[in-house]
C-alpha cells in the first residue's frame, strides 16, 4: 500500500508498506486448526503446517464442517508474481494531490485529505486440488474542504483503479460549490424531513442493511429478517422499490469471484473457501431475496442454497441525476455524507448516525443554503422503504464503511427521515 495524507493543505503522514501473510488451515477428522503467519521462509513452512495440525488437537469438531470443494486445473496466472504497490505509485497520484493543494491555496480553501493505492494478490490452494488466484488493485481519494474560519465544511470521495479517472480540479470545484452554498445558513430543529441522500449516503445505508442479512441469525429468530413466528422474511417486500445486488464482475468495482476467509463465523465458513461468488440479488424491487448462507447452514437446515457474502454492493437506479432531483424538489434537505453509524436495536435494524460536512436546504428547486448537522435514528430498511425517488446509480464511496470501497448507488429521495436531534458540529 502507498498512501499520503494531508491537513491544512500540507502533507502530514504518508508511507509505503508491504504486507504478506500465510494462513494454513489443517483439518483432522472434522476438527480444524488455523494459524496465520507473516514470516514464512521456506525452512519454516513445515513448522507452520505442524502448528496448524497441532491446533486441531483437543478441540471439538467444527460445526461448519463440510467436505472441501474440489476442482481440477491450475489458473493460467497461478505462477505470476504478486501485484505490488511500490513507491512509484506516488507518480500516479502525488502530482494530482499537489495540483489540488495548489488550487486550494489559491482559492483560499483549506483541504484535508487522503489518497491511497493498494495492490494485493491472494492465492488459495487446498489438499482437494482446488487452486484459485485473484489479483486486485484499488485506490481511493477523499477530501474535506473547509473555509479558512473552519465554519463551513464539505466532503467528497471516490474509489479508483489507477487514479486516471481522478480529476483534482473537478473534485475541488464540487467541494467549493458546496462551501459557497453554505454562505447562507439556516438553523433547523430536529424532526422528520424529506431528504435527498447523495450516493455515498445511500451506499452507507446499503452496507448497514446488508450487515443484517445473515441467514443463520434470521433462522434463529435474532435478526430483523426473522419472521415473527419462525423462518425468515425472504420473499417479503420490505424495501419499497429498492434493488440491492452484488456482482464480482461489476465494472469498476470488480472483486474476487470466489470466497476466501481465514476464520469461520455465522456468515462465512473456512470450508467454503473457493466457492464461486456469483451475482446475487439481495433485494429485488423491494423484496428480500437472499441472505448470506454458508454451505453448512444450508445443508443443516435443508432450506435454501449456499449464498456467499459480497465484496461489493450495487444499489440499482436509472432515474434522474442528483442535479435533476434537486431541481424537482419542493422542500428537502440534501445530505452529502453520513457518519458514525451504529446499531441501536437489532430487532428493528434501527441504527443511529450523524450527518457530516454539509447538509443543505433545498426549496423550489434551488439550494438555499446550509443547515446544521443532525443526529438521526433510522432503520436503513425503513429508509429504503420510504424512498420516493431513486436517481441514477454511480460509483459511490461509503464514508462510514470505509473498509467497503466497492459500491455503486444512486441518490435517493426519502420521504420522512428521522432527524432525532441537532448536532452543532461544523
Amino acid at each position: 500500500m502507498v498512501n499520503v495524507r494531508w491537513a491544512h493543505n500540507t502533507v502530514t503522514t504518508n508511507g509505503v508498506a508491504d504486507e504478506v501473510s500465510l494462513s494454513v488451515l489443517s483439518i483432522v477428522g472434522h476438527r480444524v486448526g488455523v494459524v496465520t503467519r507473516t514470516r514464512f521462509p521456506a525452512d519454516r513452512l513445515e513448522l507452520i503446517v505442524r502448528e496448524s495440525e497441532a491446533a486441531c488437537a483437543h478441540r471439538p469438531a467444527a460445526p461448519d464442517y463440510m467436505p472441501l470443494l474440489e476442482d481440477e486445473g491450475v489458473p493460467a496466472d497461478w505462477d505470476a508474481p504478486a501485484a505490488t504497490a511500490e513507491v512509484d505509485a506516488f507518480d500516479a497520484f502525488a502530482p494530482k494531490v499537489e495540483r489540488l493543494l495548489k488550487q486550494a491555496r489559491a482559492g483560499g480553501v483549506r483541504t484535508f485529505g487522503y489518497a491511497e493505492a493498494c495492490a494485493s494478490t491472494v492465492w488459495l490452494a487446498t489438499s482437494s486440488g482446488l487452486r484459485r488466484r485473484h489479483a486486485d488493485a484499488i485506490g481511493r481519494v477523499s477530501v474535506t474542504a473547509k473555509t479558512p474560519d473552519l465554519a463551513r465544511s464539505s466532503w467528497a470521495g471516490q474509489s479508483t483503479g489507477d487514479f486516471s479517472d481522478v480529476d483534482p480540479a473537478h473534485l475541488l470545484d464540487r467541494l467549493e460549490q458546496r462551501l459557497a452554498w453554505g454562505a447562507r445558513y439556516t438553523a433547523l430543529q430536529a424532526g422528520h424531513y424529506e431528504v435527498i441522500l447523495e450516493p455515498s449516503c445511500t451506499a452507507d445505508l446499503a452496507v448497514a442493511a446488508q450487515a443484517f442479512m445473515v441467514r443463520r441469525d434470521a433462522d434463529e429468530g435474532r435478526s430483523p429478517f426473522s419472521a415473527p413466528h419462525g423462518g425468515t422474511c425472504i420473499g417479503e417486500r420490505l424495501f419499497g422499490r429498492i434493488s440491492i445486488a452484488s456482482d464480482p464482475e461489476e465494472p469498476g468495482i470488480a472483486t474476487a469471484p470466489f470466497q476466501v476467509c481465514g476464520t469461520s463465523d455465522e456468515a462465512v465458513s473456512v470450508f467454503d473457501n473457493g466457492m464461486p461468488v456469483l451475482r446475487t440479488e439481495w433485494v429485488h424491487e423491494g423484496t428480500l431475496r437472499s441472505l448470506v448462507t454458508p454451505r453448512y447452514w444450508a445443508h443443516k437446515t435443508g432450506q435454501g442454497v449456499p449464498v456467499p457474502g459480497a465484496g461489493n454492493l450495487i444499489v440499482a437506479g436509472d432515474g434522474p441525476t442528483l442535479e435533476r432531483m434537486i431541481a424537482d424538489t419542493g422542500r428537502a434537505l440534501l445530505v452529502t455524507s453520513l457518519w458514525y453509524i451504529r446499531t441501536v436495536d437489532p430487532q428493528t435494524a434501527l441504527v443511529t448516525g450523524l450527518t457530516r460536512d454539509g447538509v443543505f436546504l433545498v426549496e423550489d428547486g434551488q439550494v438555499r443554503g446550509a443547515v446544521n448537522n443532525f443526529r438521526w435514528n433510522m432503520s436503513p430498511v425503513t429508509a429504503f422503504a420510504q424512498a420516493i425517488e431513486i436517481g441514477r446509480s454511480q460509483l459511490a464511496l461509503p464514508r462510514v464503511h470505509d473498509d467497503f470501497p466497492r459500491a455503486k448507488a444512486p441518490p435517493l429521495r426519502i420521504e420522512r427521515f428521522h432527524m432525532s436531534s441537532v448536532s452543532e458540529a461544523s
Binding site: N9, V143, P346
Partner: protein
C-alpha cells in the same frame, strides 16, 4: 508472579542488526531524524456459539518500519523481509518517500526534544495467555455458554476471548534502544432471549472489561461466573420489562457504561491532532480548541480527568511510546476545567508545549505512529461515596449498566449511548428494569450535569481493544478508569419509538 522476562522467541529475531543497518543507511542519506520499530504481534480469537466452538485462530505478525525526516518531510516505509538487503530497501524507500513528498509539505517537521533511553519494559501480567493450552480456553467459553443456556431462560449464547501479546523494539538515530512486552486480554458473553409468541428478542452482554492482564484474568473465573449466573434472570426480566417513557431523568451510570462515554466525549476531543485538524477528513475534529485551554468549563467542579500511560493493567500503559517518549501521567480536566491535551513530539514542539506526554502509537509494524489516546480516567471522589449513596440521591431516574451502542458527532458535541441493563430508580431505590433506553446529550452539558462522583469502592478500569482512527485505519487499546457517577436531568429516548 509478574512476568519479568522478554519472550526468548522475540529476542532471537534479528532486530538489532537490522536496526543498526537501517539507521546507518538513513543517516548517510541525510535524514535529520529517524526511528526504527520492529514488532512481533500475536493474536488469538476464540468464539463459542451456543454449544459449539465457532472459531479459533492464531495469528503472528512480524515486521519492521522506518520513519525518517528528510528535507523537512516525513517518509515512512514498512517491510517484512528480515534480511540486510530487505532492510536496506525499506530504509531507502522511506528516504525516497520523504523526498518525493517534500514539495507538498509547507511546514517542515520538527520534533520536541526527548532524552535517549536504553531500557526494557514488561507490562504487569502473570500468565502468558499463549502458554495456556487451547482446550482450557475453549472449555472456559463453552462452560460460560452452558451456564446460561442450562437456565432455560436463554435461547442463544455467544462467548469469545481475544488475547494479544506484543513485543516492540524501538531504536532511534538519537540513541534510544527500547524493548517492550505487553499482554492484554478481553472476554465477552452475550445471551439472547426470544419471545416465541411474538418474535421479540432481547440481548444482554456480560459487561466485564478488557484488561492489561494475562490468562489469570480468566483463570480465577469468579467475576465471569458470577455475572454469567446473573444474566438469565436479568435477561428474562429485561424482555418482559416496560418500554421506557422518554424524557429527562437523573442517571446513575455504572463504570461499565461510563467508560465509553468518557472515551468518546473526553478522550477523543482532547486529542491534539483532532484539535489541529489532522483528522478532519476521517475521525473528525474537536470542540475543545486551543483557545479554550484553561478556560473551558468542560464539566462540573467534581470532574477531574487524567491522561496516563502508566496505570497498572491499563491497555494503553507502556514504558515508552512509539516515538521513544517515557510514559507519564498528567491532568486533562481539573476541577471541571480543560487543562491538558494528548501530544506527540511534533505537535508538542509546534504548539510550544515543551515536551510530548507520550501519546504516539502504531497498532502494527506496517503502520505509522499517530497521536493515539492514552488511558483517560475520571478520578473517584476522595470520600467514601458508594453506589447506594448515588442511587439513594435520586428520586426519579435510571441506573445504567454495561455498554452497547455508541455514536458521537465529528466535533464530539452530540452523543447517543445505549447500555445492557436499565433499572428504574424511584425514591432512592432500584425498581425493576425498563428497556429501549438511549441517553443523548451535548458533551459539556452532560459533564456539567455531573452531580455526584462515586468513591474508590465504585471505581473500575473499563476500556476497549479497538479504538479506531487514522487513514489507513488503525486500532488502539485503551483503558478508562472511572467510578459510578450521577448526572442530573439527561435526555432519555425510547429507541422503539425512534425506530417508528
Amino acid at each position: 508472579m509478574t512476568h519479568t522476562v522478554i519472550d526468548p522467541a522475540f529476542l532471537s529475531l534479528p532486530f538489532e542488526p537490522i536496526a543498526e543497518a537501517v539507521l546507518d543507511r538513513v543517516r548517510r542519506s541525510g535524514a535529520t531524524y529517524a526511528d526504527f520499530r520492529f514488532e512481533r504481534l500475536r493474536r488469538q480469537t476464540i468464539v463459542a456459539r451456543d454449544h459449539e466452538l465457532q472459531t479459533s485462530d492464531h495469528e503472528e505478525s512480524v515486521g519492521f518500519s522506518v520513519r525518517v525526516v528528510c528535507d523537512g518531510a516525513w517518509g515512512f516505509s514498512a517491510g517484512v523481509d528480515l534480511t540486510p538487503a530487505g532492510a536496506a530497501h525499506v530504509a531507502m524507500r522511506a528516504v525516497d518517500v520523504a523526498r518525493r513528498l517534500a514539495p507538498l509539505t509547507t511546514e517542515p517537521v520538527v520534533l520536541a526534544d526527548e532524552p535517549a533511553y536504553v531500557d526494557t519494559f514488561i507490562s504487569a501480567y502473570e500468565i502468558d495467555p499463549f502458554s495456556v493450552p487451547d482446550e482450557e480456553k475453549i472449555a472456559f467459553l463453552l462452560g460460560l455458554n452452558e451456564r446460561v443456556l442450562l437456565s432455560g431462560l436463554v435461547d442463544h449464547a455467544t462467548s469469545d476471548v481475544q488475547l494479544v501479546s506484543e513485543q516492540k523494539f524501538f531504536a532511534s538515530l538519537a540513541g534510544s534502544r527500547i524493548i517492550q512486552q505487553r499482554v492484554r486480554v478481553r472476554g465477552d458473553l452475550t445471551a439472547v432471549r426470544i419471545d416465541k409468541s411474538t418474535g421479540a428478542f432481547e440481548t444482554m452482554g456480560i459487561a466485564v472489561p478488557p484488561a492489561g492482564r494475562g490468562w489469570e484474568y480468566f483463570a480465577s473465573r469468579d467475576e465471569f461466573l458470577r455475572r454469567a449466573n446473573e444474566m438469565p434472570a436479568l435477561l428474562e426480566e429485561k424482555l418482559a420489562s416496560p418500554s421506557v417513557e422518554p424524557g429527562r431523568y437523573d442517571l446513575v451510570i455504572d463504570p461499565t457504561n461510563l467508560w465509553l462515554t468518557i472515551h468518546e466525549s473526553i478522550g477523543h476531543p482532547t486529542e491534539l491532532d483532532r484539535v489541529l485538524g489532522y483528522e478532519a477528513n476521517y475521525a473528525g475534529t474537536s470542540f475543545a480548541t486551543l483557545d479554550k485551554l484553561r478556560t473551558l468549563q468542560f464539566g462540573s467542579p467534581l470532574m477531574n480527568v487524567t491522561g496516563d500511560r502508566q496505570v497498572a493493567h491499563g491497555l494503553a500503559t507502556v514504558g515508552y511510546d512509539d516515538e521513544g517518549v517515557a510514559a507519564q501521567t498528567w491532568d486533562i480536566v481539573r476541577d471541571g476545567v480543560l487543562v491538558g491535551y494528548q501530544l506527540d513530539r511534533q505537535m508538542a514542539r509546534k504548539l510550544g508545549f515543551g515536551r510530548s506526554n507520550g501519546c504516539a502509537f502504531a497498532d502494527a509494524p506496517e503502520h505509522v505512529p499517530l497521536q493515539r489516546m492514552p488511558n483517560v480516567s475520571l478520578l473517584p471522589s476522595p470520600h467514601d461515596v458508594t453506589l447506594d449513596d448515588l442511587i439513594g440521591s435520586v428520586d426519579d431516574g435510571l441506573y445504567i449498566v454495561g455498554d452497547k451502542s455508541w455514536s458521537i458527532d465529528m466535533q464530539r458535541y452530540n452523543f447517543q449511548f445505549t447500555g445492557q441493563r436499565f433499572f428504574r430508580i424511584r425514591r432512592g431505590r432500584l425498581a425493576g428494569q425498563v428497556k429501549d433506553v438511549a441517553y443523548q446529550s451535548r458533551t459539556t452539558d452532560f459533564w456539567n450535569a455531573l452531580a455526584m462522583v462515586g468513591g474508590a469502592s465504585t471505581y473500575v478500569l473499563g476500556g476497549a481493544f479497538n479504538c479506531g482512527k487514522g487513514q489507513p485505519g488503525q486500532i488502539a487499546p485503551v483503558t478508562h478508569g472511572c467510578p459510578a457517577a450521577l448526572f442530573r436531568q439527561i435526555s432519555v429516548l425510547n429507541t422503539a419509538q425512534e425506530g417508528h
